[in-house]
Chain length 208, copies 2
Amino acid sequence: MSRRYSGQTAEDRTADRRARLIDFGVEVVGTQGVSALGVRSVCRAAGLSQKFFYESFADTDVLLHAVYRAALARLEEAVAPAVASGDLYAVFEAAARLMEADPRICRILLVEPVADARLRGYVRETIPAIATAALGDRIVGSPDDPGVRMRFSALFGAIISLFVEWTEGSLGTDRDAFATHLTAVVTQLMSGVSSDGTGRPQQLAHRR
Amino acid sequence: MSRRYSGQTAEDRTADRRARLIDFGVEVVGTQGVSALGVRSVCRAAGLSQKFFYESFADTDVLLHAVYRAALARLEEAVAPAVASGDLYAVFEAAARLMEADPRICRILLVEPVADARLRGYVRETIPAIATAALGDRIVGSPDDPGVRMRFSALFGAIISLFVEWTEGSLGTDRDAFATHLTAVVTQLMSGVSSDGTGRPQQLAHRR
DNA sequence: TGTACATCAGTGAACGCGCGTTCACTGATGTAC
DNA sequence: TGTACATCAGTGAACGCGCGTTCACTGATGTAC
Protein backbone atom coordinates (compact mmCIF):
# COMPACT_ATOMS: atom_id res chain seq x y z
CA MET A 1 0.00 0.00 0.00
CA SER A 2 1.42 3.33 -1.01
CA ARG A 3 1.84 6.35 1.22
CA ARG A 4 -1.33 8.34 1.75
CA TYR A 5 -1.69 11.94 0.70
CA SER A 6 -4.65 13.89 2.02
CA GLY A 7 -6.39 10.68 3.05
CA GLN A 8 -6.24 8.97 -0.33
CA THR A 9 -3.78 6.52 -1.78
CA ALA A 10 -2.11 7.32 -5.08
CA GLU A 11 -4.28 4.62 -6.66
CA ASP A 12 -7.46 6.25 -5.36
CA ARG A 13 -6.55 9.60 -6.77
CA THR A 14 -5.52 8.12 -10.09
CA ALA A 15 -8.83 6.31 -10.30
CA ASP A 16 -10.69 9.52 -9.42
CA ARG A 17 -8.89 11.44 -12.12
CA ARG A 18 -9.53 8.68 -14.63
CA ALA A 19 -13.24 8.76 -13.86
CA ARG A 20 -13.19 12.54 -14.06
CA LEU A 21 -11.54 12.48 -17.48
CA ILE A 22 -14.11 9.98 -18.76
CA ASP A 23 -16.94 12.11 -17.36
CA PHE A 24 -15.69 15.19 -19.14
CA GLY A 25 -14.95 13.12 -22.23
CA VAL A 26 -18.63 12.22 -22.24
CA GLU A 27 -19.43 15.89 -21.86
CA VAL A 28 -17.16 16.97 -24.72
CA VAL A 29 -18.15 14.24 -27.18
CA GLY A 30 -21.80 14.42 -26.13
CA THR A 31 -22.08 18.15 -26.70
CA GLN A 32 -19.41 19.11 -29.25
CA GLY A 33 -18.73 15.84 -31.01
CA VAL A 34 -15.77 13.55 -31.52
CA SER A 35 -13.67 16.18 -33.27
CA ALA A 36 -13.63 18.32 -30.12
CA LEU A 37 -12.11 15.55 -28.00
CA GLY A 38 -8.46 16.47 -27.47
CA VAL A 39 -5.93 15.98 -24.69
CA ARG A 40 -5.90 19.65 -23.90
CA SER A 41 -9.64 20.25 -24.28
CA VAL A 42 -10.67 17.41 -22.00
CA CYS A 43 -8.03 18.31 -19.40
CA ARG A 44 -9.16 21.91 -19.49
CA ALA A 45 -12.78 20.81 -19.01
CA ALA A 46 -11.82 18.47 -16.17
CA GLY A 47 -9.51 21.03 -14.56
CA LEU A 48 -6.55 18.69 -14.64
CA SER A 49 -2.98 19.04 -15.85
CA GLN A 50 -2.25 17.39 -19.18
CA LYS A 51 0.11 15.05 -17.37
CA PHE A 52 -2.82 13.24 -15.83
CA PHE A 53 -4.28 12.43 -19.21
CA TYR A 54 -1.33 10.19 -19.99
CA GLU A 55 -1.51 8.70 -16.52
CA SER A 56 -4.72 6.90 -17.61
CA PHE A 57 -4.83 6.95 -21.41
CA ALA A 58 -2.23 6.39 -24.10
CA ASP A 59 -4.02 8.74 -26.49
CA THR A 60 -7.45 10.17 -27.27
CA ASP A 61 -8.49 6.95 -29.07
CA VAL A 62 -8.27 5.08 -25.78
CA LEU A 63 -10.25 7.79 -24.01
CA LEU A 64 -12.87 7.74 -26.77
CA HIS A 65 -13.30 4.03 -26.30
CA ALA A 66 -13.79 4.53 -22.57
CA VAL A 67 -16.27 7.33 -23.27
CA TYR A 68 -18.24 5.07 -25.59
CA ARG A 69 -18.29 2.27 -23.03
CA ALA A 70 -19.43 4.66 -20.33
CA ALA A 71 -22.30 5.89 -22.49
CA LEU A 72 -23.26 2.37 -23.48
CA ALA A 73 -23.21 1.29 -19.83
CA ARG A 74 -25.69 4.07 -19.05
CA LEU A 75 -28.01 2.80 -21.76
CA GLU A 76 -27.67 -0.84 -20.77
CA GLU A 77 -28.37 0.01 -17.17
CA ALA A 78 -31.45 1.99 -18.17
CA VAL A 79 -32.99 -0.69 -20.37
CA ALA A 80 -31.83 -3.80 -18.46
CA PRO A 81 -35.09 -4.46 -16.58
CA ALA A 82 -37.17 -3.96 -19.73
CA VAL A 83 -34.90 -6.23 -21.77
CA ALA A 84 -35.12 -8.90 -19.08
CA SER A 85 -38.91 -8.75 -19.16
CA GLY A 86 -38.91 -9.09 -22.95
CA ASP A 87 -41.18 -6.09 -23.35
CA LEU A 88 -40.02 -4.12 -26.38
CA TYR A 89 -42.28 -1.18 -25.66
CA ALA A 90 -40.69 -0.90 -22.20
CA VAL A 91 -37.21 -1.02 -23.72
CA PHE A 92 -38.01 1.92 -26.00
CA GLU A 93 -39.73 3.76 -23.19
CA ALA A 94 -36.72 3.40 -20.91
CA ALA A 95 -34.28 4.42 -23.66
CA ALA A 96 -36.41 7.45 -24.53
CA ARG A 97 -36.48 8.45 -20.87
CA LEU A 98 -32.70 8.21 -20.63
CA MET A 99 -31.97 10.20 -23.77
CA GLU A 100 -34.48 12.83 -22.78
CA ALA A 101 -32.64 13.16 -19.46
CA ASP A 102 -29.18 13.04 -21.00
CA PRO A 103 -29.00 13.90 -24.71
CA ARG A 104 -25.24 13.37 -24.65
CA ILE A 105 -25.82 9.61 -24.56
CA CYS A 106 -27.81 9.88 -27.79
CA ARG A 107 -25.11 11.86 -29.49
CA ILE A 108 -22.33 9.49 -28.39
CA LEU A 109 -24.15 6.27 -29.19
CA LEU A 110 -26.25 7.21 -32.21
CA VAL A 111 -25.09 10.40 -33.90
CA GLU A 112 -21.31 10.49 -33.80
CA PRO A 113 -20.74 6.86 -34.85
CA VAL A 114 -22.32 7.55 -38.24
CA ALA A 115 -19.38 9.66 -39.39
CA ASP A 116 -16.58 8.43 -37.11
CA ALA A 117 -14.87 5.17 -38.01
CA ARG A 118 -13.60 4.44 -34.51
CA LEU A 119 -17.00 4.80 -32.86
CA ARG A 120 -18.58 2.81 -35.68
CA GLY A 121 -16.19 -0.01 -34.85
CA TYR A 122 -17.23 0.07 -31.21
CA VAL A 123 -20.88 0.02 -32.23
CA ARG A 124 -20.36 -3.02 -34.41
CA GLU A 125 -18.69 -4.79 -31.49
CA THR A 126 -21.45 -4.09 -29.02
CA ILE A 127 -24.84 -3.30 -30.53
CA PRO A 128 -25.69 -6.64 -32.19
CA ALA A 129 -25.73 -8.38 -28.79
CA ILE A 130 -27.99 -5.73 -27.28
CA ALA A 131 -30.25 -5.69 -30.33
CA THR A 132 -30.79 -9.45 -30.28
CA ALA A 133 -31.53 -9.30 -26.56
CA ALA A 134 -34.08 -6.52 -27.04
CA LEU A 135 -35.71 -7.72 -30.25
CA GLY A 136 -35.67 -11.36 -29.21
CA ASP A 137 -37.83 -13.65 -31.33
CA ARG A 138 -38.64 -10.87 -33.78
CA ILE A 139 -35.44 -11.70 -35.62
CA VAL A 140 -35.82 -14.18 -38.45
CA GLY A 141 -33.64 -15.27 -41.30
CA SER A 142 -29.96 -15.50 -42.10
CA PRO A 143 -27.79 -12.37 -41.82
CA ASP A 144 -26.22 -13.36 -45.15
CA ASP A 145 -29.47 -12.85 -47.03
CA PRO A 146 -29.54 -9.35 -48.60
CA GLY A 147 -33.28 -9.19 -47.97
CA VAL A 148 -32.76 -9.73 -44.26
CA ARG A 149 -29.91 -7.25 -44.21
CA MET A 150 -32.11 -4.66 -45.91
CA ARG A 151 -34.83 -5.17 -43.34
CA PHE A 152 -32.38 -4.64 -40.52
CA SER A 153 -30.75 -1.68 -42.17
CA ALA A 154 -34.11 0.03 -42.60
CA LEU A 155 -35.15 -0.85 -39.08
CA PHE A 156 -32.00 0.44 -37.41
CA GLY A 157 -32.01 3.55 -39.55
CA ALA A 158 -35.59 4.28 -38.60
CA ILE A 159 -35.01 3.64 -34.89
CA ILE A 160 -31.87 5.78 -34.80
CA SER A 161 -33.53 8.63 -36.66
CA LEU A 162 -36.52 8.53 -34.32
CA PHE A 163 -34.34 8.57 -31.21
CA VAL A 164 -32.21 11.41 -32.52
CA GLU A 165 -35.22 13.56 -33.29
CA TRP A 166 -36.88 12.56 -30.04
CA THR A 167 -33.79 13.69 -28.16
CA GLU A 168 -33.80 16.98 -30.07
CA GLY A 169 -37.38 17.41 -28.91
CA SER A 170 -38.83 17.74 -32.39
CA LEU A 171 -41.25 14.83 -31.97
CA GLY A 172 -43.20 16.33 -29.10
CA THR A 173 -43.13 15.23 -25.48
CA ASP A 174 -45.47 12.25 -25.37
CA ARG A 175 -43.11 9.45 -24.46
CA ASP A 176 -45.84 6.84 -24.55
CA ALA A 177 -46.79 7.80 -28.11
CA PHE A 178 -43.12 7.75 -29.06
CA ALA A 179 -42.47 4.26 -27.67
CA THR A 180 -45.71 3.02 -29.20
CA HIS A 181 -44.66 4.38 -32.57
CA LEU A 182 -41.28 2.69 -32.28
CA THR A 183 -42.80 -0.72 -31.52
CA ALA A 184 -45.14 -0.21 -34.47
CA VAL A 185 -42.20 0.60 -36.72
CA VAL A 186 -40.44 -2.59 -35.62
CA THR A 187 -43.54 -4.58 -36.45
CA GLN A 188 -43.97 -2.90 -39.82
CA LEU A 189 -40.37 -3.27 -40.90
CA MET A 190 -39.82 -6.78 -39.59
CA SER A 191 -42.97 -8.07 -41.21
CA GLY A 192 -41.84 -9.81 -44.33
CA VAL A 193 -41.74 -7.79 -47.45
CA SER A 194 -38.91 -9.87 -48.77
CA SER A 195 -36.73 -8.50 -51.49
CA ASP A 196 -37.21 -11.48 -53.78
CA GLY A 197 -40.76 -10.33 -54.39
CA THR A 198 -42.57 -13.25 -52.80
CA GLY A 199 -43.59 -10.94 -50.00
CA ARG A 200 -44.78 -13.44 -47.44
CA PRO A 201 -46.42 -11.31 -44.78
CA GLN A 202 -45.48 -12.56 -41.34
CA GLN A 203 -47.26 -9.97 -39.28
CA LEU A 204 -46.19 -9.99 -35.66
CA ALA A 205 -48.38 -9.03 -32.75
CA HIS A 206 -47.93 -5.44 -31.73
CA ARG A 207 -47.31 -5.69 -28.01
CA ARG A 208 -49.21 -3.34 -25.73
CA MET B 1 -11.63 42.07 -71.28
CA SER B 2 -8.43 41.37 -69.42
CA ARG B 3 -5.09 40.60 -70.96
CA ARG B 4 -4.66 36.98 -72.02
CA TYR B 5 -2.06 34.72 -70.55
CA SER B 6 -1.42 31.40 -72.25
CA GLY B 7 -4.65 31.71 -74.17
CA GLN B 8 -6.96 32.16 -71.22
CA THR B 9 -8.31 35.25 -69.57
CA ALA B 10 -7.75 35.76 -65.87
CA GLU B 11 -11.44 35.03 -65.33
CA ASP B 12 -11.18 31.72 -67.17
CA ARG B 13 -8.30 30.57 -65.05
CA THR B 14 -9.97 31.71 -61.86
CA ALA B 15 -13.08 29.77 -62.81
CA ASP B 16 -10.98 26.70 -63.63
CA ARG B 17 -9.25 26.85 -60.30
CA ARG B 18 -12.54 27.32 -58.48
CA ALA B 19 -13.99 24.26 -60.18
CA ARG B 20 -10.81 22.35 -59.40
CA LEU B 21 -11.00 23.27 -55.71
CA ILE B 22 -14.63 22.16 -55.54
CA ASP B 23 -13.77 18.89 -57.28
CA PHE B 24 -11.06 18.12 -54.79
CA GLY B 25 -13.27 19.34 -51.98
CA VAL B 26 -15.76 16.66 -53.07
CA GLU B 27 -12.92 14.17 -53.07
CA VAL B 28 -11.69 15.12 -49.60
CA VAL B 29 -15.10 15.31 -47.92
CA GLY B 30 -16.38 12.30 -49.84
CA THR B 31 -13.49 10.06 -48.81
CA GLN B 32 -12.10 11.45 -45.54
CA GLY B 33 -15.01 13.44 -44.19
CA VAL B 34 -15.71 17.02 -43.28
CA SER B 35 -12.97 17.21 -40.66
CA ALA B 36 -10.30 16.62 -43.33
CA LEU B 37 -11.39 19.64 -45.38
CA GLY B 38 -8.81 22.36 -44.78
CA VAL B 39 -7.33 25.17 -46.84
CA ARG B 40 -3.99 23.44 -47.03
CA SER B 41 -5.31 19.92 -47.56
CA VAL B 42 -7.59 20.83 -50.43
CA CYS B 43 -4.93 23.00 -52.08
CA ARG B 44 -2.42 20.20 -51.73
CA ALA B 45 -4.90 17.76 -53.30
CA ALA B 46 -5.68 20.18 -56.12
CA GLY B 47 -2.01 21.08 -56.67
CA LEU B 48 -2.67 24.78 -56.16
CA SER B 49 -1.06 27.45 -54.02
CA GLN B 50 -2.99 28.42 -50.92
CA LYS B 51 -3.40 31.87 -52.38
CA PHE B 52 -5.90 30.52 -54.88
CA PHE B 53 -8.12 29.18 -52.18
CA TYR B 54 -8.87 32.71 -51.01
CA GLU B 55 -9.32 33.82 -54.59
CA SER B 56 -12.59 31.85 -54.68
CA PHE B 57 -13.62 31.17 -51.08
CA ALA B 58 -13.58 33.25 -47.93
CA ASP B 59 -13.03 30.18 -45.76
CA THR B 60 -13.63 26.43 -45.68
CA ASP B 61 -17.29 26.93 -44.72
CA VAL B 62 -17.92 28.56 -48.07
CA LEU B 63 -16.08 25.76 -49.88
CA LEU B 64 -18.04 23.16 -47.92
CA HIS B 65 -21.27 24.76 -49.04
CA ALA B 66 -20.10 24.64 -52.66
CA VAL B 67 -19.06 21.01 -52.21
CA TYR B 68 -22.48 20.15 -50.84
CA ARG B 69 -24.22 21.93 -53.70
CA ALA B 70 -22.03 20.14 -56.24
CA ALA B 71 -22.88 16.75 -54.72
CA LEU B 72 -26.56 17.60 -54.56
CA ALA B 73 -26.51 18.74 -58.19
CA ARG B 74 -25.12 15.34 -59.16
CA LEU B 75 -27.98 13.61 -57.37
CA GLU B 76 -30.65 15.93 -58.77
CA GLU B 77 -29.30 15.43 -62.27
CA ALA B 78 -29.33 11.66 -61.82
CA VAL B 79 -32.88 11.42 -60.50
CA ALA B 80 -34.47 14.28 -62.48
CA PRO B 81 -36.08 12.15 -65.22
CA ALA B 82 -37.44 9.68 -62.68
CA VAL B 83 -38.81 12.46 -60.49
CA ALA B 84 -40.46 14.04 -63.52
CA SER B 85 -42.15 10.76 -64.38
CA GLY B 86 -43.41 10.37 -60.82
CA ASP B 87 -42.04 6.84 -60.58
CA LEU B 88 -40.63 6.36 -57.09
CA TYR B 89 -39.02 3.03 -57.93
CA ALA B 90 -37.14 4.73 -60.77
CA VAL B 91 -36.00 7.52 -58.44
CA PHE B 92 -34.49 5.00 -56.04
CA GLU B 93 -33.01 3.01 -58.88
CA ALA B 94 -31.31 6.08 -60.35
CA ALA B 95 -30.03 7.20 -56.94
CA ALA B 96 -28.69 3.73 -56.20
CA ARG B 97 -26.92 3.69 -59.55
CA LEU B 98 -25.30 7.06 -58.85
CA MET B 99 -24.09 6.18 -55.36
CA GLU B 100 -22.78 2.86 -56.56
CA ALA B 101 -20.79 4.74 -59.20
CA ASP B 102 -19.67 7.51 -56.85
CA PRO B 103 -19.82 6.65 -53.16
CA ARG B 104 -18.49 10.11 -52.31
CA ILE B 105 -21.92 11.57 -53.10
CA CYS B 106 -23.45 9.26 -50.51
CA ARG B 107 -20.97 10.30 -47.87
CA ILE B 108 -21.38 14.01 -48.55
CA LEU B 109 -25.17 14.00 -48.76
CA LEU B 110 -26.13 11.29 -46.29
CA VAL B 111 -23.34 10.39 -43.90
CA GLU B 112 -21.47 13.55 -43.00
CA PRO B 113 -24.53 15.74 -42.39
CA VAL B 114 -25.57 13.54 -39.46
CA ALA B 115 -22.72 14.78 -37.28
CA ASP B 116 -21.86 18.12 -38.92
CA ALA B 117 -24.06 21.09 -38.09
CA ARG B 118 -23.20 23.06 -41.23
CA LEU B 119 -24.04 20.23 -43.63
CA ARG B 120 -27.19 19.50 -41.64
CA GLY B 121 -28.24 23.09 -42.23
CA TYR B 122 -27.72 22.71 -45.98
CA VAL B 123 -29.73 19.49 -45.95
CA ARG B 124 -32.61 21.17 -44.19
CA GLU B 125 -32.58 23.93 -46.79
CA THR B 126 -32.63 21.62 -49.77
CA ILE B 127 -33.92 18.12 -49.09
CA PRO B 128 -37.58 18.87 -48.23
CA ALA B 129 -38.17 20.24 -51.73
CA ILE B 130 -36.62 17.19 -53.38
CA ALA B 131 -38.41 14.81 -51.05
CA THR B 132 -41.83 16.31 -51.79
CA ALA B 133 -41.10 16.16 -55.51
CA ALA B 134 -40.05 12.51 -55.29
CA LEU B 135 -42.67 11.26 -52.83
CA GLY B 136 -45.44 13.33 -54.36
CA ASP B 137 -48.92 12.42 -53.17
CA ARG B 138 -47.59 9.92 -50.66
CA ILE B 139 -47.27 12.78 -48.20
CA VAL B 140 -50.28 13.32 -45.98
CA GLY B 141 -50.93 15.31 -42.84
CA SER B 142 -49.59 18.41 -41.15
CA PRO B 143 -45.86 18.67 -40.39
CA ASP B 144 -46.81 19.99 -36.95
CA ASP B 145 -48.39 16.69 -35.93
CA PRO B 146 -45.87 14.61 -33.95
CA GLY B 147 -47.34 11.46 -35.50
CA VAL B 148 -46.60 12.73 -38.99
CA ARG B 149 -43.15 13.86 -37.93
CA MET B 150 -42.43 10.43 -36.48
CA ARG B 151 -43.48 8.77 -39.73
CA PHE B 152 -41.15 10.99 -41.70
CA SER B 153 -38.32 10.59 -39.27
CA ALA B 154 -38.56 6.81 -39.46
CA LEU B 155 -38.88 6.90 -43.24
CA PHE B 156 -35.88 9.15 -43.82
CA GLY B 157 -33.80 7.24 -41.31
CA ALA B 158 -34.64 3.96 -43.04
CA ILE B 159 -33.94 5.34 -46.52
CA ILE B 160 -30.64 6.91 -45.47
CA SER B 161 -29.49 3.76 -43.71
CA LEU B 162 -30.38 1.63 -46.73
CA PHE B 163 -28.51 3.92 -49.13
CA VAL B 164 -25.45 4.07 -46.90
CA GLU B 165 -25.25 0.29 -46.63
CA TRP B 166 -26.02 -0.11 -50.30
CA THR B 167 -23.13 2.21 -51.13
CA GLU B 168 -20.86 0.23 -48.82
CA GLY B 169 -21.87 -2.86 -50.77
CA SER B 170 -23.18 -4.77 -47.78
CA LEU B 171 -26.65 -5.26 -49.25
CA GLY B 172 -25.56 -7.25 -52.26
CA THR B 173 -25.54 -6.08 -55.85
CA ASP B 174 -29.11 -6.54 -57.01
CA ARG B 175 -30.13 -2.95 -57.69
CA ASP B 176 -33.64 -3.93 -58.71
CA ALA B 177 -34.20 -5.75 -55.41
CA PHE B 178 -32.77 -2.77 -53.57
CA ALA B 179 -35.05 -0.21 -55.26
CA THR B 180 -38.02 -2.55 -54.81
CA HIS B 181 -37.24 -2.87 -51.13
CA LEU B 182 -37.01 0.91 -50.79
CA THR B 183 -40.39 1.50 -52.39
CA ALA B 184 -41.84 -1.18 -50.13
CA VAL B 185 -40.36 0.56 -47.09
CA VAL B 186 -41.94 3.84 -48.17
CA THR B 187 -45.29 2.11 -48.47
CA GLN B 188 -44.93 0.40 -45.12
CA LEU B 189 -43.84 3.46 -43.21
CA MET B 190 -46.23 5.92 -44.83
CA SER B 191 -49.22 3.70 -44.26
CA GLY B 192 -50.95 5.15 -41.26
CA VAL B 193 -50.03 3.78 -37.92
CA SER B 194 -50.78 7.07 -36.29
CA SER B 195 -49.29 7.84 -32.92
CA ASP B 196 -52.64 8.66 -31.31
CA GLY B 197 -53.52 5.00 -31.52
CA THR B 198 -56.43 5.28 -33.96
CA GLY B 199 -54.23 3.59 -36.54
CA ARG B 200 -56.21 4.29 -39.68
CA PRO B 201 -54.52 2.16 -42.33
CA GLN B 202 -54.23 4.13 -45.54
CA GLN B 203 -52.36 1.62 -47.63
CA LEU B 204 -50.95 3.13 -50.78
CA ALA B 205 -50.46 1.30 -54.02
CA HIS B 206 -46.94 0.08 -54.56
CA ARG B 207 -46.06 1.47 -57.97
CA ARG B 208 -44.47 -0.83 -60.53
C1' DT C 1 11.34 41.55 -86.38
C1' DG C 2 13.80 42.55 -82.06
C1' DT C 3 14.44 44.28 -77.57
C1' DA C 4 13.35 46.65 -73.24
C1' DC C 5 9.89 47.19 -70.12
C1' DA C 6 5.54 46.94 -67.51
C1' DT C 7 2.36 43.91 -65.80
C1' DC C 8 0.65 40.14 -63.80
C1' DA C 9 0.60 34.98 -62.41
C1' DG C 10 2.09 32.01 -59.17
C1' DT C 11 5.45 30.39 -55.37
C1' DG C 12 6.71 29.66 -50.97
C1' DA C 13 8.12 31.70 -46.70
C1' DA C 14 6.41 34.03 -42.59
C1' DC C 15 3.32 34.84 -38.61
C1' DG C 16 0.64 33.54 -34.70
C1' DC C 17 -2.02 29.87 -32.90
C1' DG C 18 -3.49 25.45 -30.74
C1' DC C 19 -2.35 20.88 -30.84
C1' DG C 20 0.01 16.34 -28.69
C1' DT C 21 3.63 15.22 -25.89
C1' DT C 22 7.46 15.65 -22.51
C1' DC C 23 9.79 17.11 -18.50
C1' DA C 24 12.18 20.31 -15.18
C1' DC C 25 10.82 22.25 -11.27
C1' DT C 26 7.97 23.91 -7.18
C1' DG C 27 5.89 23.13 -3.18
C1' DA C 28 2.98 20.18 -0.32
C1' DT C 29 2.85 16.04 2.53
C1' DG C 30 4.18 12.47 5.46
C1' DT C 31 8.10 10.45 8.15
C1' DA C 32 12.26 9.88 11.07
C1' DC C 33 14.52 11.24 14.86
C1' DT D 1 5.84 17.36 20.46
C1' DG D 2 8.98 19.71 17.14
C1' DT D 3 11.95 20.07 13.33
C1' DA D 4 14.69 18.61 9.27
C1' DC D 5 14.42 15.90 5.49
C1' DA D 6 12.96 12.71 1.79
C1' DT D 7 9.41 11.81 -1.18
C1' DC D 8 5.97 12.55 -4.15
C1' DA D 9 1.94 15.32 -6.28
C1' DG D 10 0.95 18.60 -9.43
C1' DT D 11 2.10 22.86 -12.41
C1' DG D 12 3.23 24.99 -16.36
C1' DA D 13 6.71 25.82 -19.77
C1' DA D 14 8.99 23.84 -23.79
C1' DC D 15 9.32 21.42 -28.29
C1' DG D 16 8.00 20.41 -32.91
C1' DC D 17 4.15 20.25 -35.89
C1' DG D 18 0.26 21.54 -38.98
C1' DC D 19 -3.13 24.79 -39.28
C1' DG D 20 -5.35 29.41 -41.42
C1' DT D 21 -3.92 33.51 -43.33
C1' DT D 22 -0.92 37.06 -45.45
C1' DC D 23 2.44 38.89 -48.44
C1' DA D 24 7.14 39.81 -50.47
C1' DC D 25 9.22 38.23 -54.22
C1' DT D 26 10.41 35.63 -58.63
C1' DG D 27 9.87 34.87 -63.09
C1' DA D 28 6.79 34.35 -67.06
C1' DT D 29 3.97 36.80 -70.45
C1' DG D 30 2.32 40.23 -73.40
C1' DT D 31 3.11 45.03 -75.19
C1' DA D 32 5.32 49.30 -76.90
C1' DC D 33 8.55 51.17 -79.66
